[in-house]
């Protein structure tokens, strides 16, 4: 429980350029992030909206440490965590977690549900076997997956349930920030609503801060406090959610409004 306006995650001037081609060939540069800065308060939800190719996923990767930004800094509770290597999971990385878009690809098809959820604990802490099980089961209950299904494989679950498992897994290490990368894609509308509600509940109970990435403006409008719009690697618009409705006309917004139709 922190005071309103307490900064939990901040990005300052993040830039990343991808180059294609070997050193002796003409190289093809693609600027994925161009001086992106944002700030997330504790307990709040920041939505990042944009078309595909606007740099949303790259932003997510840089924030979480899976990609290294060429320039800029990421600060978690004031601590600079940008120098994390993408490959070895430094402990700072665990405070920010990422939920991927496609849940069927984010869960190892060979592992059972309980193994998937307890994996972070297995790696990160020194619990005993039974402690692992207990905590994992408790987490699964919290996200609404029946304990009778602990031994089922991912392909035996529906898309919505898989996302719940992914959320359980991400939350079991008690992170401070959760980045949701297009987590509603591919789900039925009603399921989308259920997941959204679950996320809001968990945000309350665990004091989480969310960065919600999506191309669907109307959906994030319901759960976000602030909305940021990205285009071609840059932030082009930023405003509190109340002010963004599909009726506001700006060139990007109306285009997005058209995308997220009904």
């Amino acid at each position: 429980m922190g005071a309103a306006g307490e900064l939990v995650l901040e990005a300052r001037g993040l830039s990343k350029t991808f180059t294609q081609g070997r050193w002796w060939q003409k190289q093809f540069r693609r600027r994925a992030l161009d001086n992106v800065s944002l700030a997330l308060d504790r307990g709040k939800t920041l939505a990042v909206v944009g078309e595909s190719g606007s740099g949303k996923t790259t932003l997510a990767m840089c924030l979480v440490g899976l990609e290294r930004a060429d320039a800029g800094a990421v600060l978690l509770e004031g601590v600079n965590v940008t120098s994390r290597e993408g490959r070895s999971g430094a402990s700072a990385g665990r405070e920010i977690q990422l939920i991927f878009q496609d849940s069927s690809m984010a869960l190892n098809p060979r592992m059972s549900a309980i193994e998937i959820v307890e994996e972070p604990l297995l790696i990160a802490s020194r619990c005993t076997r039974s402690e692992l099980r207990d905590r994992a089961q408790a987490m699964m209950k919290q996200v609404g997956v029946s304990p009778a299904w602990v031994h089922r494989r991912p392909h035996q679950f529906s898309g919505g349930q898989r996302q719940r498992l992914a959320i359980a897994r991400a939350l079991i290490l008690r992170p401070k920030v959760l980045i949701l990368d297009e987590v509603f894609v591919g789900l039925d509308l009603s399921i989308q609503g259920q997941i959204a509600n679950l996320l809001l509940e968990l945000q309350q109970s665990h004091t989480l801060s969310y960065i919600c990435i999506s191309h669907d403006l109307s959906l994030v409008h319901q759960i976000a406090d602030t909305i940021v719009i990205m285009d071609q690697g840059r932030i082009v618009e930023e405003a509190p959610a109340e002010l963004c409705t599909p009726s506001i006309k700006g060139p990007r917004q109306s285009a997005l409004g058209a995308h997220s139709g009904a």
Binding site: L66, G89, R94, Q97, M105, A106, I123, A170
Partner: protein
């Protein structure tokens, strides 16, 4: 990973074959070096159940082989005396599995007759006994060399695929080099420039090392391909976020993807390596006399007189066909395309 019933049956059959040659000492009536100078190139013994008087015996028996008086090098059966075939006899001592000292053999006959199920060779040595011991050598060289190749291929393939960059480039260029080599040329060149006359055990180990070290390239490339794909899976990225070390990620998430490849490659490589050993021994570059190997047993066929007249000398070669058949069928059964089931 599901294995079809057909694959299981094939695997069991092949296992059975390997067990048979493991028990070579027990199944072979004679020692491999024992010569019968008076019986060079004798044809396989006829097993009789009916004697000269037309009486039927339950216990099979053999007759003496004597030289034909009119033709040089040919034999006649002299059935005045019948030599019954006894089972579980005491014979020449040997070491079962290399350490159990015993002298019990499955079957045998009394001297001076001999029971030569596959005839004899130039020195009168029992081909059947040498066939069994030779099988030990050839089959197990193939097996162990395959394990070596796969281990090396797996190590390099995983490293190259996982770490990428210059490690990947180095391994791939190296693999290209090894794949571009005409393997037999390289193998015999390297083999023969190591001491030619080695003790049997040293030569055996050397062969295994050589054959295994030459063939790592293809499995490595395949494994690297799979690892490249597996490495980017979202569940791997997620595990990395939880703080999973490289070793953990490899062990838990990436390696299970390559077990399938390892099995199919094993089924493909083993027959090739057995053939490599047979070829090397055939050329005189394998294990030397008097240790038998299927290859060296076949090399006498290079003399045209032997080739035409003594068909039983072909047998060590003919047995390769069903062995290869078994492995090739097993490999095609294990191909991922056939089994739709996952996990």
């Amino acid at each position: 990973m599901k294995i079809s019933r057909k694959a299981m049956l094939l695997a069991i059959a092949l296992l059975g074959l390997h067990l048979i040659v493991l028990f070579a000492g027990f199944l072979a009536p004679y020692d491999t070096a024992r010569q019968n100078r008076e019986l060079p190139f004798a044809p396989p013994s006829h097993i009789h159940f009916v004697d000269a008087q037309g009486k039927v015996h339950f216990r099979p028996f053999v007759c003496m082989m004597v030289d034909r008086p009119d033709a040089f090098g040919e034999y006649l059966e002299d059935c005045h005396r019948s030599f019954p075939v006894y089972f579980l006899v005491r014979g020449a001592p040997y070491e079962l599995f290399g350490f159990l000292k015993t002298d019990l053999h499955l079957f045998g006959v009394d001297a001076p007759a001999g029971i030569f199920l596959m005839g004899t060779d130039a020195y009168g040595r029992d081909v059947f006994s040498r066939f069994l011991y030779g099988g030990q050598l050839s089959l197990f060289t193939g097996l162990v060399a395959t394990v070596l190749s796969l281990a090396l291929g797996m190590l390099l393939g995983v490293l190259a695929g996982y770490y990428g960059g210059w490690c990947d480039a180095a391994v791939m260029r190296g693999a290209e080099l090894f794949l571009a080599l005409p393997w037999l040329y390289f193998l015999i060149a390297v083999r023969a420039f190591l001491p030619l006359s080695l003790g049997a055990k040293d030569a055996f180990l050397l062969l295994i090392a050589l054959i295994g070290l030459v063939g790592w390239a293809r499995p490595a490339r395949l494994i690297r391909g799979v690892v490249l794909g597996s490495r980017e899976r979202h569940y791997v990225l997620a595990a990395r976020l939880f703080g999973g070390s490289d070793l953990y990620l490899m062990r838990r998430h990436i390696l299970p993807d390559i077990y399938n490849i390892l099995l199919t490659q094993a089924a493909l490589l083993i027959p090739q390596y057995v053939l490599a050993e047979v070829t090397l021994s055939f050329l005189g570059l394998g294990v030397g006399e008097p240790t038998p190997s299927w290859g060296s047993m076949l090399s006498t066929l290079q003399q045209y007189s032997v080739l035409v007249s003594y068909w039983w000398m072909f047998l060590p070669g003919l047995v390769l066909v069903p062995v290869f058949c078994g492995y090739v069928l097993l490999a095609s059964e294990l191909q991922p395309g056939r089994r739709a089931a996952v996990a």
